[in-house]
């Protein structure tokens, strides 16, 4: 029996609770991948490479945090990519108009994202329609609104936005991060606090574990379910703002397929799509893994666009397969 010697069993003997195994495995594999990159490419193992992964994926990190809440309740949110695009589009067009100050635009964008999310959550809960479909309709809606605003890319020249885009926060040893990374980390910490130290967080896990049981225990299922979609909408809008800092433009074709990246990041981080099990740290690692795959591709350099796709698929496959083999079969 191979399973008897698998690290999962060893980990259990070493008194690591089983629930942490998927996150640990992801962390180890991430480290292994980083080391492999270091062996293969010169100048790969530097702190700045890791920081660049954060800088280039801060928006994905924020979006994936929102997605984690939704997936923990057993739902799914396909609208995030479109809401990100919508946020860039709204900010860019309002700023181009000139009459809106940057802070007001940011507040408005965040409010729109949150309201959209809350509305989808309310439809999902009160009309008992499957989240996949409601958020798919939300995806069409947000993407459609983008094109209604404009089909061309609008560049952002607002001083606040460009300042946020170009500021470098210097750390020690010539390493630096962007303000977006700070915002992303704040979101992660706030979300981790909410998930593990507040009633809302416990309700999220309870609803994901069993909605009927949560209801019978007298937990506010309706409020929780609607809240997680609101959180996801807020995170998507914030992700959209971070993307507009990163791109300095608003475009209806930004972030196409980002919902799949976000879902993949959450799942790679060891969260179950059925809900009730998973950690925010896993999601952070999932985003890092996806970012590292892209970094490896860019270090590889000469790949044509189709070989890039095949390579991403292969790396994703190798990663997920290893993760499954190491954490062993549940039951």
């Amino acid at each position: 029996m191979m399973a008897a010697f698998s690290p999962a069993v060893l980990a259990r003997r070493a008194a690591v609770p089983r629930k942490y195994v998927p996150v640990l495995v992801t962390a180890c594999l991430f480290a292994a991948m980083f080391a492999a990159g270091g062996v293969r490419y010169e100048g790969f193992v530097t702190g700045q490479v890791v920081l660049n992964v954060f800088i280039d994926n801060a928006f994905l990190l924020v979006v994936a945090v929102g997605m984690t809440f939704v997936i923990l309740t057993g739902g799914i949110d396909l609208s995030v990519g479109s809401v990100v695009a919508l946020s860039t589009m709204i900010s860019a067009s309002l700023l181009a108009g000139g009459s809106w100050p940057a802070p007001a635009v940011m507040v408005l964008v965040l409010a729109i994202g949150t309201v959209l999310g809350l509305a989808m959550g309310a439809i999902i809960h009160y009309f008992e329609i499957q989240p996949f479909i409601v958020t798919l309709a939300g995806m069409f809606l947000a993407r459609g609104l983008c094109y209604t605003i404009g089909t061309e890319s609008i560049s952002i020249t607002d001083p606040t936005f460009t300042a946020l885009a170009q500021t470098r926060i210097d750390l020690f040893a010539e390493m630096w991060i962007s303000p977006s990374v700070l915002i992303g980390l704040v979101v992660v910490l706030a979300a981790a606090y909410v998930l593990h130290y507040t009633r809302l967080g416990r309700n999220v896990y309870a609803v994901g574990g069993g909605e009927q049981s949560a209801l019978l225990m007298g937990l506010p299922v309706a409020r929780t379910k609607i809240a997680v979609y609101g959180i996801s909408g807020f995170c998507s809008a914030l992700g959209g703002l971070l993307l507009s800092f990163y791109m300095l433009s608003g475009y209806g074709l930004h972030a196409v397929g980002m919902e799949l990246d976000a879902i993949a990041a959450v799942v790679i981080g060891g969260t179950l799509l059925t809900g009730g099990s998973g950690y925010l740290l896993g999601t952070v690692l999932g985003v890092l893994v996806l970012g590292l795959i892209q970094t490896i591709i860019s270090f590889e350099g000469t790949l044509s666009s189709w070989w890039t796709k095949i390579f991403i698929g292969l790396l994703l496959f190798a990663f997920i397969l290893l993760q499954r083999l190491i954490s062993g079969r549940s039951k």
């Binding site: 993949a264 799942v267 496959f317």
Partner: protein, 355 residues
């Protein structure tokens, strides 16, 4: 029990009633806007008309949705169908473009065989990842969704392969016995699937795996083999759809063929009343769902919705369909019968849906 329920209630309570109403509504909207929308005539020896076009252009979606229904019934999902559509079209066109005589029937058959064979292999690969490696279906098929697009572009070398082959053109654009050939293929596959799942035990086994995998295992269902078969079948359907799509335009585009068809297919399945959580499935519902989506696309063209707002229109219709289908919404909106709290199984769920 059902005998005491009035006929009208039984009709409105049927779970395909509301999708059918939406389809009829969309068709009537078209009739009101276009004269002779319903007219079907015979021109040049084959059927001709808007309704025929809906069926003809809807055939690939119907096929993909058909395979997707079975996958969803097992509690899974297949995101890779769009890529399989692109791969199968690309391989078939590549193989035909290398022929001396592009009109040779054996050459085309070989190309079709190659393409469908590869589709089956890809589907089995998905099935292995789900059933043997135990990876969550959405991620397992995401791998092929990403890599498959690259594979399709690799096959076409990043170009659009154009071919000129009469036998290949027949698959998606041709007619046989006055009927569009693609519709015939879809109908044949539908009949076969309906027979296998509704007359034989296969449907029951699929529902057993999807409804409660553990209970299914304990009652001796070979879930592993079944899952691989179902995913392979889904990819086969997608492969045939890919042949139709590429045959219709006589070219293969690795980048755009079948792009986002997985979302439309999943949408069709759900509009047709199959739950994404697995278990019970309805083939008839899926066909209705696919036809609704295709009619919607046609409607967008006929009523001249500006291209920027097509997605808004689609979002609106999808929301309306789903709201109408939701018993909770109908109870709130129409204030009809109070929810039967005493009966655990409402009458409408007992109606057996046969495809």
């Amino acid at each position: 029990m059902t005998g005491t329920v009035p006929l009208a209630r039984r009709i409105t309570g049927h779970r395909l009633f509301w999708p059918a109403v939406v389809l009829a509504g969309l068709l009537l909207l078209n009739l009101a806007l276009t004269d002779g929308f319903f007219s079907v005539e015979i021109k040049d020896g084959h059927l001709y008309g808007s309704l025929v076009d809906i069926a003809r252009f809807g055939a690939p979606l119907i096929l993909v949705a058909l395979g997707m229904t079975l996958v969803i019934a097992t509690g899974g999902i297949d995101l890779s169908v769009g890529s399989v559509v692109a791969i199968s079209g690309a391989l078939a066109c590549l193989s035909i473009s290398g022929l001396e005589d592009q009109n040779s029937v054996t050459g085309v058959l070989t190309a079709v065989g190659l393409a469908l064979g590869l589709a089956l292999v890809l589907g089995a690969w998905n099935g292995m990842l789900v059933a043997v490696a135990g990876i969550q279906p959405i991620v397992a098929t995401l791998i092929l969704m990403v890599a498959g697009r690259g594979l399709a572009q690799l096959i076409t070398d990043g170009q659009i392969i154009t071919i000129n082959s009469a036998p290949y053109k027949l698959i998606g654009g041709g007619y046989w016995l006055t009927l569009p050939f693609g519709v015939l293929i879809a109908a044949l596959l539908l009949a076969l699937t309906a027979f296998l799942t509704r007359r034989l035990a296969l449907g029951l086994l699929i529902e057993a795996v999807g409804g409660n995998a553990e209970a299914g295992r304990l009652s001796g269902v070979n879930a592993r083999g079944l899952l691989i078969t179902v995913y392979a079948f889904c990819a086969l359907c997608a492969g045939i759809a890919g042949l139709m799509i590429s045959s219709n335009v006589s070219s293969a585009d690795g980048n755009n063929a079948g792009l986002w068809i997985e979302l439309d297919a999943i949408l069709a399945v759900v509009i047709g009343g199959t739950a994404l959580t697995g278990g019970r499935f309805s083939l008839g519902g899926t066909i209705l769902g696919a036809l609704i989506i295709q009619t919607l696309t046609t409607t967008i063209y006929t009523i001249g919705v500006p291209p920027e707002t097509t997605l808004l229109f689609k979002a609106l219709v999808v929301t309306v369909v789903c709201l109408l289908q939701s018993p909770a919404f109908r109870a709130r909106a129409f204030h009809r019968r109070r929810r039967p709290a005493a009966t655990p199984a409402p009458a409408d769920e007992k109606v057996e849906v046969r495809a």
